[in-house]
Symmetry: C2
């Protein structure tokens, strides 16, 4: 049973100390070395600089308590005032509407400082911390989390050994008013397809009409991958997509999402579906295929009468349960080679999978989710949206695979926070309520009857 | 009747003075300001420099003689030793095999110095010059002949008024051993097709599957333009292509051309046709369509999960008689818009014709060609190949349209001269025989019975 009185005290403490917490976030935003590109190993001169540290920490070690691992990242996207910010990106300000504006305020310093504030609030309020907490805060997330996977595998049986569940706070509410728990992410298979013909670029006047043009072949192949309405045409690829159940379909009906929000996000009305539910289902639980571009063809402004000798098309498929990257690779390679053979071209093809990541889905009925859901009801007086995302957050899969524990994505910020954009913000209320949410979530975990 | 004795004397004079002529070509190659980019109006800082002069000159003014206009250009492509030249590009050398190697040796200083040598040889041999000669040597050919068309129109009724026929020496033999006269060039219509959707580039994970992707639309449209075997699919575009007559087909049988030469030129065996005749016909007398590339999509090495907001495809169609650029534009625009409508996309399309140039074809039975053909037989003891070219030489059409006179392309160099490439060369024998050829051509003109 959750001690409601203790929680009320905790909330009061958080409210009373909120200006201090905001100040700490301001300090965190101001630390310029948190921009990983400045200290990462990807410097332009090829010098191998040291990776920024992955911060591990343990708070509490009581065998009678659950152990919860929280993940966040302290590195941020680059930001310059000249990019168009209304204020200096590393000097966090608060707007009259209570928005904390600064690079990293929402992605992802708000959440990580929030976890630390949550510990401190318990100390200030003199309330026993309900779980053993382990933190894992990295500094390379915006650069592919280099070094993290190795560390997690290496420490799976050591530092991470007693973890009972994982909580990642590095995504966003679906909309602006209703909190969510996120239980699924799409995976990805990324490909390049190279078509080679002549040994060098040719003049289209001299050779056009007499040689098999690699660009023509590639365009024909690409046109056979996906329809303009988004249907993937690769034989067999859709076969493993999990069927939509009634229960799942039902869940979509209560989500805080409107097409008009989507239209303003994409700055056009060029959406395929005319309703919210199909739109979200095609973002979250159906695969998609995007043609990203072509390397080796003429891509500059202006015009050039070139007949490119070798062109490399790039595309990717977003994967959903129960698609498997290896199986998708087989299907894609076979399909492309079969279709290429039908073209009757003397050019040559090569297909390469650049990257594969499985889709991720968690059981939203697990105690980790139930606790989070109860905590949302406590703080926000409503049931959270149960959401998935169309993109991937690779660390989610890494933790799940390495630790084999339930992973929960519990966002702090709103859908319009503008992570990676100019004027990134975190609403003060999201920050303060978020700290309370983290606390309530941990207390709910401590009291839940599991296993 | 041609005075054979006078011609024999002329040939001897040319042979005797050939080292002087080579020296003059060496001097011409050495003049660095002949690189038009250095003096043209296209400088990098946007400063409007003066155009290099177009050199006009008249030699002879006898109303009883024909007046022949010869065109050439004294500007050259840029060249740096670092590009891979075996010798300094502006210090012309002669190899042991008798190749004069230097930038511009063949394109196009050899021919223009050749015309001047031809005049001088007549003076040295004390032979009456058989025609009135007018020269038009420009210095912007490699940069689009800026300023030339205006001058030709302006002077059509003045300087160019009495011209009876035009001779352009700025192309090449089809092969390495047999001279040719060139009587046709393909035209071109160049297009860009822009497909716009979202207001900004999107993340393919978040939005893939829910929005109409401009890249997918463009790929589908592009796939409907041309087949992998080069057949143009645009409704009506092939209707105006002149039918191949038996006589024309016959002409292809004697041409000096082999697929193996073509294979070494393109550094692959990816030709569409397995025989020389169809190959040349599709280079010269059938249209072709090349997809050049796409602006706005991801075109760098590596991978990026971008869903491009606006993509602009570039393609061009090579035109042949009796295709008309305006008619082709209409057909292309209608076809693209019809096909786009079939896609059912909410994106928008715009089609723009960037450039249109008519195909050019001359009557190879005109006295200008007959004279040149006879001259070739005199010098090379064989009938010339009658060739066309797949690309365009815009000045050809400009002269024909402005002066309404027969235009002949009479090349001096061989097919392997490497204009625009490193180690550009002109064989000494082509240079020396070329000067004789120019002379014999003018004498044949003087004696031909025309009109
Ligand atoms: Zn983040
Ligand atoms: Zn030239």
């Amino acid at each position: 049973m959750v001690n409601d009185t203790a929680l009320e005290t905790l909330y009061k403490t958080v409210d009373q100390n909120q200006d201090d917490y905001v100040e700490r976030l301001r300090e965190a935003v101001a630390i310029p070395r948190y921009e990983a590109r400045d200290i990462g190993c990807h410097d332009m001169d090829g010098v191998n600089l040291q990776l920024p540290p992955i911060i591990l920490g343990t708070y509490g070690n009581d065998p009678n308590k659950k152990t919860i691992l929280v993940y966040g990242h302290y590195d941020v996207q680059p930001a310059l005032l000249e990019d168009g910010w209304d204020s200096k990106p590393f000097d966090m300000i608060e707007t009259p509407k209570g928005q904390l504006v600064g690079r990293g305020a929402s992605d992802d310093k708000g959440p990580i400082i929030g976890w630390l504030n949550c510990i401190e609030a318990h100390q200030n309020a003199d309330i026993e911390f309900p779980v053993n907490l382990k933190i894992c805060f990295e500094g390379m997330e915006e650069n592919g989390s280099e070094g993290l996977e190795e560390l997690i595998s290496k420490e799976a049986d050591k530092y991470f050994k007693d973890v009972d569940a994982v909580c990642i706070s590095d995504n966003y509410w679906l909309g602006m008013t209703k909190p969510c728990l996120t239980y699924g992410l799409r995976g990805i298979c990324a490909y390049k397809v190279a078509i080679s013909g002549p040994g060098k670029d040719l003049h289209s006047g001299v050779f056009g009409g007499t040689v098999h043009e690699p660009m023509t072949d590639l365009i024909h192949l690409f046109s056979k991958l996906v329809t303009p309405s988004g249907k993937i045409l690769i034989t067999g690829v859709n076969d493993d997509v999990a069927l939509l159940t009634d229960a799942e379909n039902q869940m979509y009906k209560s989500l805080e999402f409107s097409l008009s929000e989507l239209h303003s996000a994409i700055e056009s009305k060029t959406t395929i579906f005319d309703n919210e539910i199909e739109t979200l289902q095609h973002r979250w639980r159906y695969p998609s295929l995007t043609l990203h571009g072509i390397e080796g063809a003429f891509s500059s402004p202006g015009f050039k009468t070139v007949l490119p000798a070798k062109v490399t098309g790039k595309f990717s498929i977003r994967l959903v349960p129960n698609m498997d990257p290896n199986r998708v690779n087989e299907l894609v390679e076979k399909y492309l080679k079969d279709e290429f053979a039908k073209l009757g071209s003397k050019n040559t093809i090569s297909v390469e999978c650049l990257h594969g990541a499985k889709p991720w889905i968690a059981n939203p009925n697990h105690w980790n989710y139930v606790a989070a859901s109860n905590a949302v009801e406590r703080i926000f007086k409503c049931k959270p949206d149960l959401t998935r995302e169309g993109g991937s957050i690779p660390v989610t899969l890494t933790f799940q695979d390495a630790l084999n524990k339930n992973v929960l994505l519990l966002p702090m910020g709103r859908g319009d926070d503008g992570a990676h954009s100019i004027n990134e913000k975190l609403d003060r209320s999201n920050y303060v309520q978020g700290i309370k949410l983290f606390g309530a979530y941990l207390h709910e975990i401590a009291s839940c009857k599991d296993e």
